[in-house]
Subunit: 397 residues, 2 copies
C-alpha cells in the first residue's frame, strides 16, 4: 500500500519550489547522501579492492536489476543495470539484428527520442549500410510493421507529448510479422505500470535518473526475454559479460543469460544512489501510483484549460493513452517556461513549442498543481513572457 504523504517525505525539495521536471531528473531522496557517505567511507575507504566481494559491488548490477525488474514486470534474473541508455539501446538493437539476420529494417517512429535513432544510425553504418532505419509517424507505427522488419524500436511514452503507445499491441503485431520488439522505457519505468513479461517484449531498456530518482548520470538497465537470453550476442562484449571474467581468458565466451549484457566495470557510486532510490520504490504499489497519476494529470489538464487560454493541449486527453506528464503547445513556449522557472515552477521546454510538466505522485499533489497553474496563468495574463530577459535562448535548453 502506497502512502503518498510518506513518499513525499522521502525527498528533498527546495523550499518554495514546485518541481514538475522529475521526468527529466528526479529529486534527491533524503537517504541518498548517507548511503553515499557509507559507500565512500565504510565501503571504498575501509575495504578498498576487497569491496568488490565483501561489499557486494560485483553483484550490484544484477541485484539492482532485479529490484528494478519488479517495476517493469520482469522475473528475477533477466534485468541488469549499467552503462547509459544509449549503450543499452545499441546492445538491444545489435542483438535483435543478429537474431533476424535475413531482415534489413529497423522500424521506429518520429516521436522517438533522438538518441535511440542516432544509435540505430551508428549501428547501421557499422554494419556496412545494409540496413534501413525506417521512420513513420507514431500513429502509423502499427501498420508499418511488415515482414521486412527485423526490429521494432519503440519508446512507450513520447518525451515531448507524453503520448503512450500500446506497446503490447505493437509487440503482438511485430511477433505476428516475425519481428522482434525493443521497448524503451525511459519515460515509463516508475511512471506507469509496465509488464515486459505479459507484453512479451523481446528486449527492454530504460534509465533510472528520471522517475526512479537515482541521480544525474544514473545507470541504465536492460531486460532480455528469457527465450533470447542464451542466444543474444551482446555486441559490446566486455570482460564483465564474460562467462568467467576473472579467468582472464584470451577468447570471449558470453556469460550466462543476462550477465552477458554487462560490459565494463560498473559505476559503484551511481549504483549506491540507485540502491537508495529503490528503497522508496520497494514500498510503492504501481497500480495505486498509476491511479493517482491519472487523477493528477487530469487535474492539470482541466486547470490549465480553464485558466490558461492560448495553451493547446499536446498530451492525449484519454488517460490510457498518456504517461505521467502533461504537455502544452505555445509559440511562446520557451519564454513562458523561462518565466515559470524564474517564479519557482520548474518544468521544461522542448523545441519547437512544447511546455512539458512531469506529474510525479511520489512528491507532487493537488496543491502543487493548483499553485503551478496559478503562476502560469499570471504569466500569461500579464504577458510576463514577453520581457526581453525571457527571450534569450540559453545554450542548453
Amino acid at each position: 500500500m502506497t502512502d503518498f504523504a510518506w513518499t513525499r517525505e522521502q525527498f528533498h525539495i527546495p523550499l518554495g519550489l514546485i518541481y514538475l521536471d522529475g521526468n527529466s531528473l528526479g529529486p534527491l531522496p533524503k537517504s541518498t547522501p548517507a548511503r553515499l557517505e557509507r559507500m565512500l567511507s565504510e565501503e571504498w575507504g575501509e575495504h578498498l579492492i576487497g569491496g568488490w566481494n565483501t561489499c557486494g559491488w560485483m553483484e550490484m548490477p544484477k541485484r539492482l536489476g532485479d529490484r528494478l525488474g519488479r517495476l517493469i514486470g520482469a522475473a528475477p534474473g533477466h534485468t541488469v543495470v549499467g552503462d547509459t541508455l544509449s549503450i543499452k539501446v545499441f546492445q538491444a538493437l545489435a542483438a535483435a539484428l543478429q537474431l533476424r539476420p535475413e531482415r534489413r529494417v529497423i522500424l521506429s517512429d518520429r516521436g522517438n527520442f533522438p538518441s535511440d535513432l542516432y544509435m540505430a544510425e551508428g549501428l547501421i553504418r557499422l554494419l556496412g549500410d545494409r540496413h534501413e532505419l525506417r521512420l513513420v509517424a507514431p500513429h502509423e507505427l502499427e501498420d508499418a510493421i511488415t515482414e521486412e522488419v527485423a526490429a521494432l524500436l519503440v519508446t512507450e511514452v513520447d518525451y515531448r507529448t507524453g503520448r503512450r503507445h500500446d506497446v503490447a499491441a505493437l509487440t503482438a503485431k511485430a511477433h505476428e510479422m516475425g519481428a522482434l520488439a525493443i521497448w524503451d522505457l525511459a519515460h515509463s519505468a516508475g511512471a506507469v505500470p509496465v509488464d515486459v513479461t505479459a507484453g512479451k517484449a523481446d528486449f527492454a531498456v530504460g534509465c533510472t535518473y528520471k522517475y526512479i530518482n537515482a541521480g544525474p548520470g544514473a545507470p541504465a538497465f536492460i531486460y532480455v526475454a528469457p527465450e533470447h537470453a542464451e542466444e543474444a550476442d551482446p555486441a559490446l562484449a566486455g570482460w564483465l559479460g564474460h562467462a568467467s571474467p576473472f579467468a582472464f581468458e584470451q577468447g570471449y565466451r558470453p556469460g550466462e543469460g543476462i550477465e552477458r549484457m554487462r560490459v565494463g566495470t560498473p559505476p559503484v557510486l551511481q549504483m549506491a544512489a540507485l540502491d537508495a532510490a529503490l528503497d522508496i520504490w520497494d514500498k510503492v504499489d504501481m497500480a495505486k501510483l498509476r491511479r493517482r497519476s491519472l487523477d493528477l494529470t487530469a487535474l492539470m489538464i482541466d486547470e490549465v484549460e480553464t485558466h490558461c487560454p492560448g495553451l493547446r493541449l499536446a498530451t492525449p486527453r484519454d488517460g490510457t493513452a498518456r504517461g505521467s506528464q502533461v504537455s502544452f503547445r505555445s509559440e511562446h513556449g520557451y519564454a513562458i517556461m523561462q518565466a515559470l522557472i524564474d517564479l519557482g515552477v520548474v518544468g521544461d521546454f522542448r523545441a519547437p513549442d512544447i511546455l512539458r510538466f512531469g506529474i510525479t505522485p511520489l512528491y507532487i499533489g493537488e496543491a502543487e498543481i493548483h499553485e503551478a497553474v496559478e503562476v502560469l496563468a499570471r504569466i500569461l495574463r500579464g504577458a510576463l513572457w514577453d520581457q526581453p530577459k525571457y527571450q534569450r535562448r540559453k545554450r542548453v535548453t
Copy 2:
C-alpha cells in the same frame, strides 16, 4: 614540485594496512566524501535539473578530460571522460577501422588485457567477420606490424607483469606501415609519464579507478589525435556526441572534434569523485613521481630477491621497461596472496601464478615496502600459505 609526504596525507588508508593494490583500485582521497556530499546536497538537491547548466555538469566530461590530459601529454580539447574503458576501446577501434577501410587486421599481443581483445572480437563479429584479430607474443609485436594492419591495439603496461612497451617506437613503426595506433593507458595514467602528442598516438584510452584514485566504477577517458578528430566516426553515436544535442534533431550530426566521442548522459556522481582525485594530481610532477616509482620498485625487487627465495621476478629488471608495479611468479601464488591479505598486506593474484604489487608513490614509501617484504618472507619461511584456508579459491579472485 611534488611532496610525497603531502600526497600521502591526502588519502585514507585503513590503520595497519599496507595497500599495494592501487593498480587495481586506488584508495579513497580524504576530500572525496565532502565533494560528494556537496554534489548531492548542494548541487543535485538544490539545483535539480538546473544543475546541468548552473553546476557545470554538462561540461564535466571535457573539463575533466583536459585535467587528465595533462597527465598523458594531451593538449586541451582532445580528451573526454565517460563510459567504461571497454566502451572507449570499442569506439577507438571502430573509428580506426573506418579510417583504414581497405585493411583487415587488428594487431595486439597476448599480454593485452582480455577485455580489449573481447571488444575487438565483438566489433569484428558485428562487422561481418571480415576482419582478423591477430595476436602475437609481446616481444613479437614490432615485427608483426605490417601493411596489412589497420590498427595496432597496444596496452603500454602489462596488467600482470608490469612489462612496459615502447609505445612511441611501436607507433612510429605502425605509421611507417600506414597503420593507426591505439594506446590503452589503464596501467600508465598516473603511473608513468605519458606523452600522446610526442608519441603520436592516434587514439588513447584509459581508466581512472586505478592510479588516478577516482573510485570504484570511475569513468574512462578517450583521446583522439587532432588530425583524426573531425574525421573519426564515433560508432556509438549518442545524443551527447551530437553537434546540437538539445535541438533534438532526427538525424545524427557528429559534434565538433572530441565532443563526438561522448555517448549518453555522463555519470555526474562518479565525475565528482574524479574531480576530487584530480585536485591531488594537479600538484604532482610526473617526472618526480616516475623517479620515485623507479626507486621504490627497484627496492621492492631487491628486498624480495634477498629475503624471499622461491619467488621469481616477472617484471623487467630494467626500469625503463616497467610500469609502476612489481610482479613475482610462484606456483603457490594464489595461497601466498591470500595469506598476505590476511596479514594486512594487500596485493593481488593473477592466474596462473602471478603475485602483483602496485607501487604507488603518492601513498607508498620505503617503510611499507620493507614491512610488506618482511610479512611475505615470514609467510614463505613458515609455509603459512600451505594452510587449508588459503587453498580455497574465492569466486572472484
